[in-house]
Subunit: 167 residues, 2 copies
């Protein structure tokens, strides 16, 4: 398990192989097991394999070139009526997203988190593209597929980041 | 790995056994392997086992009774000078926090995420308690220890949460 966390990397190159429905189900089951503030579970998921929507998403999101190859896009959405407090969906949806990324790696898939800055024009455009109601905010896109690259584990040091009892 | 994600639960009862230094190192190594916007890694960690600080934290945070028993508190902090954009530390630190929770479960430990609402009075008080600089924001506390309870896996259905291509 720790190896899954340590070896997960953002994947931006994919084979043409599809993500199966069973895999999608497993990814989303992992997502909804994330913790959330007051256990409100303020999330929804758009599962998208429509290449026209991919192209429209790419016109909005400048760092989504990997959707040229990726067979699947999951848009994680926050429900602002369901969340425990203002902006809480950001934390809850981030935990759910990390679960999807880790589950994808565990299933032999690759994934890349495509952030949507909160309250940005980019977020509003994605909300409109997928015809979400006003109270549903797209949190991020996740490009998914079978990896065609295997990035190595980077070294990340803890030096200077850890403080004992007091800053 | 999927079982680790599916079976992780918030733990609020702990044995007196300590978390070892090696376990803390593994938890933090898992944390810093989380993805972050523009790979900015805008996080710091306070590793706290000072019971006086626990009590002061409890006076600030109303849902932290489990710190009566928990031997360790990790405070995950966001670096607002290092983050990729306004409030981005929330998403990055949430992913790092989820990695700590999953790694804890994988190591046989238990953990509970103690949220600190962004820009709240509660957050400011925790910032002050641990003497963090102005640009460092406490994101959450994580109570950690050896579990003295084994909550069962809840059923979480996907019905109504998944949308195909368009909302």
């Amino acid at each position: 398990m720790l190896d899954i966390i340590m070896d997960r990397r953002s994947i931006r190159k994919f084979t043409p192989e599809k993500v199966t429905e069973q895999q999608v189900e497993q990814l989303l089951q992992a997502a909804v097991m994330a913790p959330s503030a007051q256990n409100r579970q303020p999330w929804h998921f758009i599962v998208c394999d429509d290449k026209t929507l991919f192209q429209q998403f790419q016109q909005i999101h400048p760092y989504s070139k990997m959707l040229d190859e990726a067979p699947l896009l999951i848009v994680v959405c926050g429900d602002t009526q369901q969340q425990a407090g203002p902006q809480f969906y950001l934390e809850d949806c981030a935990a759910a997203t990390e679960n999807i990324l880790l589950a994808a790696h565990a299933l032999g898939l690759g994934a890349c988190w495509l952030g949507l800055p909160p309250d940005s024009e980019r977020q509003a455009q994605v909300q409109q593209l997928f015809r979400m109601p006003e109270h549903i905010k797209p949190f991020c896109g996740i490009a998914l597929g079978v990896p065609a690259q295997q990035p190595s584990r980077p070294e990340r040091k803890l030096d200077g980041l850890v403080h004992k009892n007091i800053w």
